[in-house]
Amino acid sequence: MIDVCKKILYMVLAGLVFVGLTGICLAEPNQTNNADGNRERMNPERAYGMMPNQNAGLPMGVPVDVVYSGHGFALRGNESHILRLKVEDILPLEPGQIRGILASNKSLEEIRDDIQAKEGEVTYRGSVILDHSIYPLIEIVATPASDNTTSIKADLADLDLLSAENGNATLGNISVRVSPSDGGMIGRGELNLGLGPHAGNYSVLLDMEPPRHENGRGPADMSR
């Protein structure tokens, strides 16, 4: 009886070790994507050597934290598309400002101090990835509610129109209501795209990641 138990224990332990090792070893091989292929899928009109469009409305700055992150699906009819949503806190600093600080030959601590001097002006930067296409977000508004839910709304930026400083420089919008569910958080909402290869109206279902860091933000409206 004891021998049988030992054998069972050894088999279970061997199985656990095998599972643990297998999870480490079964990594995807690194592959370098053809940049042309990626670019054609992402931005068909942007080929090698061409200057991408300018834009003046995207939030730019030093990333501080990931505030909201979720993955799931955008559904339209009998179609399902992989969807990712990410909203980050950033310290709003323009690339030119950073390069000015870098060129000033300041110490790294002084560079840090100059960057952190913006701490009171933390704003949001975000994006949606629909299938393989990145859509930057603008006008991001996150509104926590008293029942442990959060409403996230944002516009999807049209980089071409932003470059022309067009006031209506959006491809569409997304709205997601994040609420507790079965020990985690889910996001439900809508994604509306008026232009581009993904144009259409989708319902959204996301599995939201828990907050990376608890940053003590209050329940007030947090439009940035």
Binding site: E28, N30, T32, N33, P52, R84, E88, R99, S127, I134
Partner: protein
Amino acid sequence: MTISGKTAGLALAMILILSSSGQAQQLFLNVYVDDTNANKALVVGNVDDPASLSFLNASDQIHQDNGQLYAVCDSLLRKEGSGWRLNFPANGHFDEYHAVFYIPGGFKFQEINCTQGLEFLSTIYNGSLVLDVQGYDLNDPAVSLSYSAS
């Protein structure tokens, strides 16, 4: 302790060590290329394990402050022909990855290579060339881009 107890303890210890060595991490960083000294770049942001960024080993200017990383690196860039190449490798498993590269104005991208699973978007912001690279559930993600004067 019996032999079976020792074996169980060793096996559990192995599993814990192996699982912790493969833990997923997050990276969200900006890389700003200096326009006065084209070899220098400022890396700012957050990565769960700075050891996953091997190029930091060659930097003598690294500062970490409450999880925020600041580093001045001159090993990310090298001259290539009439332009420059920036290589940005990371080691390990990343469940979330977001790197944004800012190149000074007056340049254009010649080539952008990203390992499988990374998506990118290029744009220009106030005269800076911007490459936004994102991905999820990645092993050893790497970005390599070249640019030259426009």
